[in-house]
Symmetry: C2
Subunit: 477 residues, 2 copies
Amino acid sequence: MEEERGALPPKLDFSAWYNDLLWQSEIMDVRYPVKGLYVWYPHGFAIRKHVYAWLRELMDREHQETLFPLLIPEHEFMKEAEHIKGFEDEVYWVTHGGKDPLDVPLALRPTSETAIYPMYALWVRSHADLPILLYQVVNTFRYETKHTRPLIRLREITSFKEAHTVHATWEQAEAQVEKAIALYLEFYAKLCIPVVVSKRPEWDKFPGADYTMAVDTIMPDGKTLQIGTVHHLGDHFSKTFSITFEDPEGVQRYAYQTCYGISERSIAALISLHGDDKGLVLPPGMAPVQVVIVPITIGKRKDDVSAAALLVESTLKSAGIRVKTDNRDLRPGAKYYYWEMRGVPVRLEVGPRDIDAGQVTVVTRTGERSVIQISDLVNGVCSVLAGVHERLRESAESQMRSRLIVSVSVEEAVNALAQGVAVVNWCGERMCADVMEERLGASVLGTGARSPYLNETKGNCIICGKPGKTTLIGRAY
Amino acid sequence: MEEERGALPPKLDFSAWYNDLLWQSEIMDVRYPVKGLYVWYPHGFAIRKHVYAWLRELMDREHQETLFPLLIPEHEFMKEAEHIKGFEDEVYWVTHGGKDPLDVPLALRPTSETAIYPMYALWVRSHADLPILLYQVVNTFRYETKHTRPLIRLREITSFKEAHTVHATWEQAEAQVEKAIALYLEFYAKLCIPVVVSKRPEWDKFPGADYTMAVDTIMPDGKTLQIGTVHHLGDHFSKTFSITFEDPEGVQRYAYQTCYGISERSIAALISLHGDDKGLVLPPGMAPVQVVIVPITIGKRKDDVSAAALLVESTLKSAGIRVKTDNRDLRPGAKYYYWEMRGVPVRLEVGPRDIDAGQVTVVTRTGERSVIQISDLVNGVCSVLAGVHERLRESAESQMRSRLIVSVSVEEAVNALAQGVAVVNWCGERMCADVMEERLGASVLGTGARSPYLNETKGNCIICGKPGKTTLIGRAY
């Protein structure tokens, strides 16, 4: 699969860089013959595996994994009015089996509420059955008519992690919303992705929800990317799907629900925030290969070098580090280029001089060069890996801080939006939001923002001048 | 999710037992409102996770995992004539996005040749790119018009592991077929599932293949279940999809291909072969919970017993054993019933008398009762788990042997088919096969059978009397 690939555009030209990087670092092939559908290369898939293994590890603490069908019969899908309105324009319909039309058209799930909740109606009987905390990782489908983009706006979302919970009270569902947010923050911390959590405005909440909390990050071009949502569903769906339970007093009550999801946009953010002009840069926790060993086999010491490289590899492997030795018949420079493009956090060079000195030369993907004594190999490498993680985190956080820009007027907000997100005050009235969105060419992301990169602002609505709440305005992907 | 469940039918009534067991042991819920689509309960999903983790471990030795889109455009799907003929009656078609008809109808993959091979045409350039050894684990779809059955005959196959390989020569592809068979034998060995490998007759090979090797097991009702297939595709698809490479002499050549798959039928076999009248029985390697600890907390020693149970749990957990303590407020008998139904291989009872004697009482799901000294806990439990594996293997193998019945006449074959598979001799002519299938009400499974449970037979075709080859005849699911 070694096709000829040209030079990577500079990251400043973000859109071109992103598209090219996906291909050059072998994450996705965009040449599949249907718009909005892409192919995971093995390297991209391996990254996905680590990201989702981490997500599953977090979910499995309190949730259980399950799997529901892809196909949803029209009559179930159409039960909840608001929900349909939110999705009807972007649902794919299966209408034929073989050459025959189906009796009941089947929707490809855009999300699984209407597949799961008819079963919850059967499963929930008593308060003792609650809470139910289940999740699944599935492919979901959206007939996107807008411009599609790999990992960001797709017609087949290949890796949607969706959780669906059932509770006895509204307050317990609210507490679950908070737990889910905490879990998502922990998830993104290991990916070194800084986020801001806010409450979406009424008109942008999930169709059928009481309210929606969203997790956003800011991409290198200043646009925001929604990389997680948590919805309090109230008793909307339980009333539609008859999810009731007998409370301790023997009274039948409607249950309260939440749902929350993360998709492969998490991987889009991972790639975009950390990558550079040389290619991908992966946080060590998510790297399929954490350490690559390049033996410098010049001259007569070839066997010595190979033996030393093998020893280094087996020592690191035993310590649980994901390591690979590149023994291909290529110049060292070509190997460096290859592994840098693929984002491997640490490269070890083992050459004759290193052997004589009882050391290896270490070069990190973030640019630091040092040596580690063979006698201290595992500790040394672990500490270098931890250093890479820290530098990626710091760099991403400082970019995040610089892209959250407090703005006290429409004019300031316009300037802010050229670089990132405008943090303004807004009175909460829809009419002011409409004016603001119109004048700024951007959207209200949310209020009640929570982020270590942002302080609450006090001030007046930048439109009407009445007292206002801290509000994020951004151009969203 | 504790709904009231009745008694399990005896396993002799296999079909009723199977359907009921899936529900009672919480593997699948069949009440999803579309025929042929089922819901994985968390317990079933956990079994699936262990089975597929093992399958991936085997595949990852030489293959790489990847992921291709579900939706295949009609023009790609229709390219290979034989292939279409094989699938056209059972393909689901997506015809609408939102309210609009699509320009190009999209097939839900019944299998992924036509999704993957257009990309292989782009990826394969030179002999140095070969072999390509990729696989994916995906949901696939068949519009089954026959009677559907959970895990066996479904409309959404949720867990199809399909591998697709590309080689420079026909012989290298043939060698890959043999490697795949060896891999599948290793896979099923850990599941304690005895199999027989044979070459499917010409008329039953994969549409578009040169030949098909199949892996079958025999279910408790004597019917065979195909639980793996390996296809030599020759250069059929490479010619259709223009998969060519430059050989070392600079000549463009068509590549040779194989594909091979395993689906959740592997789990159907696992459940069916090992289960008994009390419920599921899981081989330790595939059990989500390998050891359940039931503290017998009667009388005043409650705290002592709880402390001892906790110690036993943490000791086993540190040794990497999947262990769970059942502290629910239920009678021990109810707990035994619960875990037996779910197939947990080993139960440890910890009561006051056990503590005094420095031991735990061990009861295996296969019926053996013993004690293990606390001082030898990990060794003792590992050896008991190994014993359960051995007994399941032996029992399944002896059933397999008794169901492969050599038959030298049509009359004998009729009797054989009442219990399992008839092993006959057949001349290889289609006409004799048709007569045989007609008179026996069963199908030719294959020739050239390889199985440790079966010797090659020498004899004449049971229809025409000419010299014949050992051939398996069975009633297949």
